[in-house]
Symmetry: C2
Amino acid sequence: MVDIATRVYNHKWKIDPIVRSLIDTDFYKLLMCQSVFRNRPDTNVTFSLINRSKSIRLAELIDEGELREQLDHVRSLSLSRGESTWLRGNTFYGKRQMFRPDFMEFLEGLHLPPYHLEKRDGQYELTFEGRWPEVMLWEIPALAILMELRSRAELKDMGRFELQVLYARAMTRLWEKVQALRELDSLRIADFGTRRRHSFLWQDWCVQAMMEGLGQRFTGTSNCLIAMRRDIEAIGTNAHELPMVYAALADSDAELRRAPYDVLADWHEEHEGNLRVILPDTYGTAQFLEHAPDWLAGWTGIRIDSGDPAQGAEAAIRWWQKRGEDPKQKLIIFSDGLDVDKIAELHHLFHGRVRVSFGWGTLLTNDFRGLVAGDGLAPFSLVCKAVAANGRPTVKLSDNPAKATGPAPEIARYRRVFDVDEQTAQPVLV
Amino acid sequence: MVDIATRVYNHKWKIDPIVRSLIDTDFYKLLMCQSVFRNRPDTNVTFSLINRSKSIRLAELIDEGELREQLDHVRSLSLSRGESTWLRGNTFYGKRQMFRPDFMEFLEGLHLPPYHLEKRDGQYELTFEGRWPEVMLWEIPALAILMELRSRAELKDMGRFELQVLYARAMTRLWEKVQALRELDSLRIADFGTRRRHSFLWQDWCVQAMMEGLGQRFTGTSNCLIAMRRDIEAIGTNAHELPMVYAALADSDAELRRAPYDVLADWHEEHEGNLRVILPDTYGTAQFLEHAPDWLAGWTGIRIDSGDPAQGAEAAIRWWQKRGEDPKQKLIIFSDGLDVDKIAELHHLFHGRVRVSFGWGTLLTNDFRGLVAGDGLAPFSLVCKAVAANGRPTVKLSDNPAKATGPAPEIARYRRVFDVDEQTAQPVLV
């Protein structure tokens, strides 16, 4: 077992690149990448880092040289033979050859495209512009690098035993969460914590602790590298990025209104079963479901990623019932701002009424709150989003106005087109 | 840094003998051994294991084969060249060549003598009989072996991450103690925890954590192997064993009464300064001090190892004053049942009035209380004492009748000879 504290103490960071593999990324990124590679390969997209926690002045905490070093390291990576073999030969969601030969060839030849980095107002402006299937793969490594460089900055002057005890405390805290989750009958929970993890080694530890502590209740990880190394399921389906870019490419309001369904029509052609999971909140869940075509009601599940999760799940259940579907056969995946209490509450509310699953992110892989003076290891809200497609800005509304992104006039236009009126703001922790 | 949890999980105990060196013992054992080797080498002494915690049925917890294997391993050990060089060449208590050449030759040629092991009533009867300077060296390894085999029995079915979290909790607890001790100005504290340690690796971790966390406040360890490896001071002076055997050898009541002073007269010839520390409680502190010769008042310090420690220290201070000595120049070492609160209390009471020092034992190196279900890792009261010398039973009264040892008629005789009447019983935790 890796002695994380000693590794942190000894290496002065040189032997541990933060991102050590092209598949140290979320599984859904690869699924979406394949879909984009097939359906919209030539779209020019810009991804941009957005730090919603303005008080965390990243450019003052993180050395620019170190940041460039880590980003450059990612650009030097390409798919290893073992990784390629795993992607080509492994069974994902019960399916062999999930990744088609032409996509695998593309991936095997890929190096991530250049990045653009500037400092402004104590923050880093980090953008990636280029062909969609290439630049989209920057999102997760970019976030993981920023998150971990910030952890390293906080840890770098700590003593050897101080570090051991810091990790001892974090381990104890996680284990207590695992013990609490063990009490939930038929729980199904996966690690979704790559993007905002404290560090790679720590995420890997968390996953293994979940394996031992939760057994069958732990269904897998979104992280492909860890899934491969620990021989567990890689988990994930799709994200807001797809409807956001499709929407930005729409040439009229009518096309815009249809864009979120077009995305899922493409997905429908490609995937079945548990991969048919709707993420309905990009432009408001209620309107999305109301106007959804019937074939979507036949999909397996819905992922609730913003707004009040219990309300969202109730809306989904009502929608399925209205469309003549049996909610008991359906899957609801909760993935927004989860921690043990919330997981237990939602589990108790919905277990038995639908199939319930949890994608546990930041507070699984980065709960160092209160463990150092000044709370400099507390997680914060960093995202890396597609902000433009073929020169047009993207927009996300979500079910929480605090999570909306895009230029204000465009947000107003989208609200009009998608008929989204009053929404209740929820605090965004992470 | 050793990853203790993984070592515990992986090795199934074979690669880690519990006692891995003849100097994995307390420094005072070697000092006393030299004194015995010089003054009473041919005394026949019996040491015997005594488990004061009867509810801990050691013979049911610990496999006899494993116990014999560990004891046999100790018998196979002899002083390594590096250990010998360290003992011969190192400076102890500011003195070069603390160990004389004839003693070093004896030690270099030594293998520990045979042991005698039986099971009775769920306990092990473990005795060592032979020449005093040889059998006395069994005490510490025997205790360390029993303590660690009991830990191992409790740990052997635990999962890998369960173990990591167990040690994480123990580390966190110790670190919190260290943090609290750091608040005490001019604290001087040493590790006295070899005999009742959770394990060797754990003691070694505790010592290193104290080094980092306490800096100059941490004065060293009683454990010679750890002192050598970690390049810190080896700490210790003398113990009850000396007066107990001297007393047993006395041929009359008058000789008996004089025996505790004879011991220190021999010590006086050999040692100076901080090694001149009186352990006054073997047959009652009050009477010992009252009848002590004046040259003893000139000694540097007193170690308080039973009874109410604050009362004992006050008695020592009054005694020094009465004998015309300045208590501010004197050293009081507290070494009985210490934990952070008690250390802080005693430090506040006596710092500035005398030189104060602490020998912290069981609750430094074995505080796993409450960390497993059933509390099977809580420390307990195991001792290994000289019970007979040249065929006569030994007696210890101490300042706590709960710590008295020896046959009842002999205890009564000693109480008469040493004029010890009412004593207040204190609970014996460890």
